[in-house]
Symmetry: C2
Amino acid sequence: MDAAQEAHNREAFRQAVVNTLERRLFYIPSFKIYRGVAGLYDYGPPGCAVKSNVLAFWRQHFVLEENMLEVDCPCVTPEIVLKASGHVDKFTDLMVKDEKTGTCYRADHLLKDYCKDKLEKDPNLSDEKAAELRHVLAVLDDLSAEELGAKLKGYGITAPDTKNTLSDPYPFNLMFQTSIGPSGLSPGYMRPETAQGIFVNFKDLYYYNGNKLPFAAAQIGQAFRNEISPRQGLLRVREFTLAEIEHFVDPDDKSHPKFSEVASLEFLMFPREDQVSGRAARRIPIGDAVTQGIVNNETLGYFIGRVYLFLTELGIDKDRLRFRQHLANEMAHYAADCWDAEIECSYGWIECVGIADRSAYDLRAHTDKSGVALVAHEKYPEAKEVEKLVIAPVKKELGLAFKGNQRMVVEALEAMGEEEAMEMKATLETKGEAEFRVCTLDKVVTIKSNMVSISKEKKKEHQRVFTPSVIEPSFGIGRIIYCLYEHSFYTRPSKDGDEQLNVFRFPPLVAPIKCTVFPLVQNQQYEEVARSIARALTTVGISYKIDITGTSIGKRYARTDELGVPFAITVDSTSSVTVRERDSKQQIRVNVDEVASVVKEVTDGVSTWADVLWRYPTHSS
Amino acid sequence: MDAAQEAHNREAFRQAVVNTLERRLFYIPSFKIYRGVAGLYDYGPPGCAVKSNVLAFWRQHFVLEENMLEVDCPCVTPEIVLKASGHVDKFTDLMVKDEKTGTCYRADHLLKDYCKDKLEKDPNLSDEKAAELRHVLAVLDDLSAEELGAKLKGYGITAPDTKNTLSDPYPFNLMFQTSIGPSGLSPGYMRPETAQGIFVNFKDLYYYNGNKLPFAAAQIGQAFRNEISPRQGLLRVREFTLAEIEHFVDPDDKSHPKFSEVASLEFLMFPREDQVSGRAARRIPIGDAVTQGIVNNETLGYFIGRVYLFLTELGIDKDRLRFRQHLANEMAHYAADCWDAEIECSYGWIECVGIADRSAYDLRAHTDKSGVALVAHEKYPEAKEVEKLVIAPVKKELGLAFKGNQRMVVEALEAMGEEEAMEMKATLETKGEAEFRVCTLDKVVTIKSNMVSISKEKKKEHQRVFTPSVIEPSFGIGRIIYCLYEHSFYTRPSKDGDEQLNVFRFPPLVAPIKCTVFPLVQNQQYEEVARSIARALTTVGISYKIDITGTSIGKRYARTDELGVPFAITVDSTSSVTVRERDSKQQIRVNVDEVASVVKEVTDGVSTWADVLWRYPTHSS
């Protein structure tokens, strides 16, 4: 199959999935009656149920299993917090404007589209030119505003709709801005991630955990990203649900007590070296990946393993899931290591979970900005003797010598590193004075020996004080759900073979409704039985849909297969009923008063369908 | 006890509760290390767990029980939607500014504080003056900007902190404003309620429900309100979680099939007439309230009953819960009836759930603004013959006569009501022309008989088309949780009687952690047993906390009583352990391998504590 045919098939498959999703209200373009807003979608009833189920399982699999501290912080965030985290300055995309109409575009998207289009459709492209365009695509994320602008100009790229000239690229901050309170003087933003709410609470959470490391905090909530021009349907949206974990750990000990429980798991990994050298992703047991140093540490490896289990239990196809390590140029300068769980769908490989060792960056940034030390303590079994540098400026003398600038000189003296301080000490002892550059004054001053005393003192230390490292698994819930839709969708011929029917093969864990109840024909007796079963299902907490329309049973099955409902109860007598499994279409016969508990059993995973198939008589329709 | 003493006690009780809540991280002032932002709070680990539990129960009690259609819409909302709903124009509070410092205050708060203060503290207040101030308090919510301004001036009220003069009151819109997309041309707001997301989806949801009424849609999500000056701690905040139900019903039939299930419930109700005539709230069976017309209709009554069950099952004290009917001046002009579930706490009676019959207002507003008909259809068993007014403007003639204004004239003609049209018909028949006012042109024009034909025609109608009414129960989740904290809190003396210990008597349904596991003394054997029990608890989905510190068992019990943990497992042997119930402090002895399932049983409500107390030997410590 050639590339064009493959692209066509992918597109056709996506259309089939998306049409089904939209027709059955898994999602709805938000504010549709007002013609919608790009990048905003509602979860309709079945989509909302799938989302609740995914989040409930996330809580069970991560928060409860690991005893994490879950928190819930507001979306509205004051500027200072996002200034500290770097978002105010750096959470930007490069934008260009159509110089006549003012329409905005992402600069890198236009360049990417141009290169891809040329490579795919220009038959006269020279080998040399093709290589150049491929190189541009490879380094796209690294280009500065100037470089991007030069390329756009160089290739003569214009506004896609109007062919008008484009402005130079400039950074556009992707946060939704607002104002807190009535004065207009307190800028705020809608949070771009939930993580910062956890970092600023580190001190309280550490205390809550008995001042012990490691521990993890978690948060599920909305995050916002004011995309310049949203694309890729449900994958790139302006508001989305994140589920984030911040696991705080001693930087000197990133081992994990439960690592052995995941070590033998084997799945597709795509290490940095393999990407650079053009090899394909390969199956590596996560235990080996850590031993061989491919994955930086056990805790990171543990979470990679747990994420694999989480995604595959939801129903993600394990052959279309890989863990890709960030390349050097993708990774933040402070990160120790970073892996993305990527899921393959019709849009290609999509980043759905990021698992990063962010080192001490975030806690340090908030410590610096807030002046509150976000640190951990480790008590030594017995006190240790250490040599400590002591710099004691003599404020009186400095005050006389530097008057208004005294504070800056004092601070600069106190900030000296060990080497610089010991050098000054030697100079003061030999010459009685020393030249000293005060950077906050941008000036060299003369320090005399009566102005500062520098010494090394032996001290007893009872504890080690340090900034913990943070391992952060961050889940884009909407993206995971969209990929799950694609991986769960299939079609099969109807009974008379004249049409293709859609099915979502959701596991019961995920299915929006667990069970349907159908009276086989419209009569009062059967409807009463159906209603009594419905009541029993509610009591045991199983969601159901009851369909008492006179439509043929085949059509009713097809309708709920399309919603991914795993089990259907058909009432064809007042004493016993049939239970049908969605994918195999097998049916068993169960007494009316047992049926709710049987469905609960297979839905909760206490029994499998095979188990109950063995216990109850099969039914052939 | 006099009023001052009572106020003092209430304040002291609140302080005790709030101190405990903050110390144990039920909540944390958001962004505390940056000195916080008024009106924003985080849910810390136990608070977050309580909130999840309340929401999960809400889903079970309302969404699952009533088969509601749950949706999940974005917080970011384009202006047009909130223009249609009336929020852009009317979601305001009256604000005054300190004329020198610019500090903003809610005008009604300043007036309220002044009146209350005078009434409570001024011994020289004349009876006449006191009556006047009480009247001001009663009509406070009805005062216009001008009236409020006049009162503030009249009483000489100045800025509380500076005593500077105040500006005149002016409306401040309470929505957080933002801008959608990069152009700056699409204003948006953070939604002030979740309801609008449901209304704009009515058409799709009605279709999803098989084009049948009644049905209910539900949504849980964040809502935002940029308060001028937040007060009352956790009760009046700038971001909060709402859980809202929109039950769509035929305006001609508001009966409810399940009303009989709640009809005999009896609880405190406070009808409008009783409030006006100064009577107290009284117990009325909800069935009687509907029969007697105190509550407008069965559906409204059904939800009042269900809300009562919901709140009391959470642990709200039924004697401090009342349903208060809105007074005529409180109710929106379109509302048919409205009741608030008010819960008494140290701040007084607090509105926690609003249950309103909003008639057809919202659907009509969005129909008008969007041009999409948000209506329902009722097929007649057989077609009905009806007489219909038909107005047919003759566009050619109107075009010749009115040129550029043709469209406005056509629209005005088509919009005529029956009476006006029949009058015009008569005039045209007798005089050949008629004067006609076109409001969009602000002009009277002459219509000739060749320009329009007006007739009454008999038509067969196959269905009735109408705008459904909406019954809306709307839950302020944070307020319910805060009141629950106050209603659950009590103190009791420690064993040696030298201190008071705090306890939250949360039912297991709500408790943030269901169970603690304590090895009685620090030794490896007991710790291993504790860990195996912990694993078993995780498997059955029961959240727990394990405490292996060497602290005395009494202290450890006290610590978890303060978190409201209902059950504690103490490991004092390797074969059997004790289970202690929080409030009675009774203990039973259970085998190690049974204990997780026993705790699950009492936590899930399958058995009561009394049941298991009867089944297992009691243990006296």
